[in-house]
Symmetry: C2
């Protein structure tokens, strides 16, 4: 663990933030569907967005906004309709949403960032949204994080939230985050969303660099079913309300802040993987000995994403052959003779050859590691060494169960 402690409060744990979540009537279910995060003052803003070439209006909007100006005060998120593949009308709806909220909050439209999640090809229900915005603003509260975390959910089974605190210059600095998963239970329903708040003072260039690296080590290292959404967005605000000196270049304090930001993102990413559709357990793959971190992560992601590995873990089967096979096809060259595979603490494969092992003991480990209570830290750990390089990387995933197929096949559009 790092040099920080876990605290309560989610995105409102950091100073100078309020949040809200309400039911505006966008979802047919009448569950909460509109979330707002507000910084009391202008905050440095950074974002990482889907790399898909089919993307939502809000993604285009945020990318352009953050290119023009590296600060913001507000993140508005609706659930129910993804506003993706909705053409020019979808763009108009996004702009109208920004204007409505700016008027209600009496701030500049430029201070607002947007996210949407829900059914692709559906416009936001603008009547419900228009009626909802005043109610949403009225609900803003210093303990509003859980309400916001609930309102961004679609098919998630649980909310995902975390807050950490460290000390910089003897003053507390906090980072909080909420997220929703890549659950795709509903047809055309997508999206990994994460919103992070921080009260440190940090330069916009550095904050964006930190966020990009943290995303690579967290959200970009999880795989539920390999599909990337049209709406995936990670937005992070840093408002300086901790009153600590501005961090403008890498150094001990910047590293401390980045490590805590990475920990927040990894917590949320693990929670998303654990909540993957039909998942019965969380799987962590750690790769060492690769030429560099990127190569290590690529091998880890290939293993975590392999349908054969995922099926074997669902069957609690110590199938080292499928792990070796996935490692071999990850696109990173290595000498088979250097390959080593461990499940938990059990060494199954070394020097390019399988080792004899007590199958009952390894299966017992798998059952125990997979049996962790929902959202606990229990994890099936796969450790793979591919050589003598310095590159280390991790990836997270879940097993592949009957329920994944049921959820995704039996729902019809």
């Amino acid at each position: 663990m790092g040099d920080w402690q876990e605290i309560t409060g989610g995105v409102t744990a950091a100073r100078g933030y309020k949040a809200a979540g309400i039911t505006a009537g966008l979802k047919p279910s009448r569950l909460p569907d509109l979330a707002l995060i507000l910084s009391d003052v202008d905050a440095i803003a950074a974002g990482v967005f889907t790399t898909s070439h089919v993307k939502a209006a809000c993604v285009d909007y945020c990318r352009q906004r953050l290119q023009a100006k590296h600060s913001a005060r507000v993140i508005l998120c609706n659930a129910g309709q993804a506003n993706a593949a909705t053409g020019s009308q979808g763009v108009k709806d996004a702009l109208e949403t920004v204007d409505l909220l700016a008027k209600e909050l009496r701030i500049s439209p430029e201070a607002i960032l947007l996210a949407s999640t829900g059914v692709i090809g559906q416009r936001i229900k603008m009547d419900a949204l228009r009626r909802g915005i005043p109610k949403l603003v009225a609900a803003l509260a210093e303990d509003g994080s859980d309400a916001a975390a609930g309102a961004i959910m679609t098919t998630d089974l649980v909310t995902k939230s975390i807050a950490l605190e460290t000390s910089i210059n003897d003053r507390p600095v906090r980072i909080g985050g909420i997220a929703k998963g890549s659950g795709m239970i509903h047809p055309n329903m997508a999206t990994m969303l994460a919103f992070v708040t921080c009260d440190a003072a940090v330069s916009s260039t550095l904050w964006q660099q930190m966020l990009t690296r943290a995303a690579d080590r967290s959200f970009n290292s999880i795989t539920v079913d390999g599909d990337t959404s049209t709406n995936d967005s990670l937005i992070a605000l840093a408002n300086g309300e901790s009153r600590t000196p501005a961090i403008t270049e890498m150094g001990a304090e910047a590293e401390k802040l980045e490590a805590m930001l990475t920990a927040v993102c990894q917590h949320l990413a693990r929670a998303i993987a654990r909540d993957g559709e039909g998942a019965t357990c969380l799987v962590e793959v750690k790769v060492t000995g690769a030429p560099d971190e990127t190569a290590a992560r690529q091998i880890a992601k290939t293993i975590a994403g392999s349908s054969l590995v995922k099926s074997a873990i669902f069957g609690r089967d110590p199938n080292w052959g499928r792990i070796a096979g996935a490692a071999g096809r990850a696109g990173v060259p290595f000498e088979q003779e250097n390959l080593q595979i461990k499940l938990g603490n059990f060494l199954l494969f070394e020097n390019g050859q399988p080792l004899p092992f007590d199958k009952a003991s390894v299966s017992a480990y798998l059952k125990q590691a997979a049996a962790g209570a929902y959202m606990k830290e229990d994890t099936v750990l796969i450790s793979v060494t591919v050589g003598n390089g310095n590159g280390t990387g991790k990836a997270w995933g879940c097993d592949l169960s009957y329920d994944y197929v049921r959820i995704n096949a039996e729902y019809t559009t």
Copy 2:
């Protein structure tokens, strides 16, 4: 269809070939497990092998053999043990196998190519193999293709075989092929194998180039579960016994031969996809309008390999959103406004937006296209246009069913 006709005979349809398949006792099931293909004369030989960095002894052996000498007379294939991840002893076993067979056939060891399929990490049962080789050679026959096709199977439900005939210089030229699928029912059991025989006379450089392109348009364009095996091998012999003039450069005759070779490979590849574990139907994805063929195929493969698309097809659900999502994340840039999606003849998405469609009719199409009798040509056809480019590409896959999970989870090592 091309300028050829389908004939019977598999790999022994081409002149100058014999084949055999026997039970040597390598498989616990006592089903046939040893196959041999022999050309009466030295044949030009080409191969395409797994790109995995974890690979079998036979793959290393064949690669080195074909680099040193571009001809061969024999393909020997055992099923039961993959002889992958078996270290230096595995290499010794492969070399001993070659020597034994060379003595039995009274030919040079250099004329022999090897393939293995079965359990990774297991050596070939050499006692059974030694006893089997004389029996195998004694069984060689001009109608031995079906026996060979049966003996290379592992978890395949049906044999895969094809032969086509065309005319070059008014003389018949034939290409035949047999294959086995990527079924991974058994733990650590892998491997896509295909063996092709041809009686044309063709230069070794041209034959290898033709085979590489044909593999890209067939075996490299199918996806069952995204996993690549340690043993994947495609080997093609061309022995000149058609007595047609040698084809040494590209031109009308070379194109005719390559088109027929590609058709043979595509037939076998489609049969493998249709026989994917738990598959209930074959899915063909055709992408047009891409910058080039490679880009088109990349999009097609991403769609065919998407777990969400595969689950939707298992549910017979016209879920254009998942197809659009997979196209968007394939890594090929395109303008969303140019995206068009069809299921069969039904246009579902155009100009970046979904179209209204009669859901009952499209679902009926899906049910009908998926209901084709096993191994028939019936196919669920997904057509995607991404722009105005000339690049066209196809990929094949199957749906994702409960049985896939059952097969891969419930079997334990």
